[in-house]
Symmetry: C2
Subunit: 403 residues, 2 copies
Amino acid sequence: MCPNAPGSCPRGYPMRKVAVVAGGLSRWGVRKASWRELVQEAGKAVLDDAPDIGKKEIDSLFVGAASPDRLAFQCHVAPLVADMVGVYPTRMMARTEMACASGQAAIRHGWLAIASGMSEVALCLGVEKMNLPDMREAQSTMTAVLDREWDAVHGASAPPFFAMCAQHHMLHYGTTRHQLSLVSEKNHGYSATNPYAHFQKPVTAAKVEKSMMVAPPLRLFDCSGITDGAAAVILASEDVAGKLTDTPVWILGSGQCASGNNSGNWKSLDSWQSMREAARTAYESAGITERDIDIAEVHDCFTISEIIAYEELGFCKKGEGGRFIEEGQSRIGGKVAVNTRGGLLGCGHPLGATGIAQVIEVYEQMLSKVPPSRQVPDPMVGITHNLSGAANVHSMLVLGRDA
Amino acid sequence: MCPNAPGSCPRGYPMRKVAVVAGGLSRWGVRKASWRELVQEAGKAVLDDAPDIGKKEIDSLFVGAASPDRLAFQCHVAPLVADMVGVYPTRMMARTEMACASGQAAIRHGWLAIASGMSEVALCLGVEKMNLPDMREAQSTMTAVLDREWDAVHGASAPPFFAMCAQHHMLHYGTTRHQLSLVSEKNHGYSATNPYAHFQKPVTAAKVEKSMMVAPPLRLFDCSGITDGAAAVILASEDVAGKLTDTPVWILGSGQCASGNNSGNWKSLDSWQSMREAARTAYESAGITERDIDIAEVHDCFTISEIIAYEELGFCKKGEGGRFIEEGQSRIGGKVAVNTRGGLLGCGHPLGATGIAQVIEVYEQMLSKVPPSRQVPDPMVGITHNLSGAANVHSMLVLGRDA
């Protein structure tokens, strides 16, 4: 453990402790539900998970949503979510947008609102409605998540960009097609246990390797889905959390690092320095090292992303991510259990909801509320990780419970 | 003065003190500049205003932008702004969206990031590029700022909504057409002194009353413009601010209140209860009363908004806002100087930039950096106010300098 007190900022300033005290999800998938109905589903679920919190106690609201402007033709969505859920925040309210990391951004902002003393109880809700009658809207919006004028206009939308990362990783480190497939097999195996997941059938490595080519070497089952969904957590100050529960799950620390926006800023496609920096800050602020981590929810938008994540998060040496999955080290019972809810590959990726669903998984794992088949034995420390844009911005949270 | 310590949260928890230490604007108007070029103009201006702050010291970035998704076909804009300005935040980075209050949201989040101890120096930049080859894009985006499914589809976009507010105020309180015109005359008079403003010509009340009807009783010069622009401030912790300047301008407090999203939630169109609540929280958290306020930047998206603001902010009794402008009480030399930069009516309203430009005006007034013709004598306490949506969400900041 590093010498910083848990819950302190990276510079050691004492912040108020903040706990996750409730979580709730909508069902994820290709939904007939509208954007608003997804919000209502997750809003009801999180309030049902917190019967002792009155709606009036929720004094702040942060909405993680990447592009409701384009996908639901609606902006100013924070007060709209307040209406849909029936809360009327009196302290802080805003939408936080960080593309694929918008959900985690909502939690980081909720955390700061409480840590600063401004807020006592914050609702953080993430949502995205991506399946529309005209699917070109989702596709074109996804190009606007990258640097549209420098990257996307040249065809570097997400699948080809991550395909290039995979090609480099295979070339430099000998990562194999089969190792990529094993990530997909593992995560689809876990999502088969998750009734909220978009994809609830196991997928074998062989099936991954026979699936449609998207951008070489990435095939259909190497890619996360176009998914509708919402997720919400309630955060509370130490005072409030102490009244609600004997088993609070604390936010211990956080980290974020960017190395520019467009892919031209990258020195390397297979070595993600900003992810290492974000992890270092997160671990230091939480007073942990990578060896303390029992469970990790990482941003497997593509199979290669999870393999690189093993390395940059310090779970294995650089270049050994392929072997890490092959040895089963990222499965339950291995060195660290990764993406036990099924990840983005198995659950789908409704942009604003993903970062919040990841925190719910860690929270429920720590309270032993997940199905037994995917329960990690007695997890004490968990992390969640989101990347956004061309894998150049990384955001992380560290969560933990009392011994 | 109320008993709370300045800089404390509404509940009295001691937060770190945060100062505005620099401000910079792009020129506002119908600009040929792109969204990115507007960002660069304001970014350069704010860095030029802070020669002693190295780019590496800026550890956080908050981007206020209402809908770059629709207006610039780009989301994930925070790291893009980092690239354009040349900063690489290592603590907190996100876009904050609250429609017309997005700029102030960026400042409120920057404030919390520093107040909590997470950040030392934060760049808060607001921007909107609203004039596009096809102006229908700006018009349709503005309908998405309101509740599009409940209000906007019935034609209740901003001008007709505020026109209804004006009709009710005239009916209930006897507010006159001429009193509305005087707000426009005052603010265009001030914007004529502001080289960054969209509209730099004085407008007489007679001219307002002869201008094109938009939505009765509101005419063209009762309405703020469709404007391109950007604005940026740098916030710093007390430690950093103390090294940079002998005259820090502090953020003393803040308030925010929502009464639902769609206009059906309103009990009254001319009595804005959530604005009164936001003001009360802001004053209490800052340890001031309305009598302490020397300068106020209020959200005059329409002339009627400023008249109602006089009342809800406590500058005059309910229903006497019309008389307040007629008596010259909101001019420099009156009870409180309102919208000395020219307001939204005179400067235009690039949604994400407005809330930040307002803070720059208060900051520059306190440092006697504005043109002498609009300098308020020795202001000690200033407020900024933004409304968003159908005037049902109100956000406020209180700023002050040391005696």
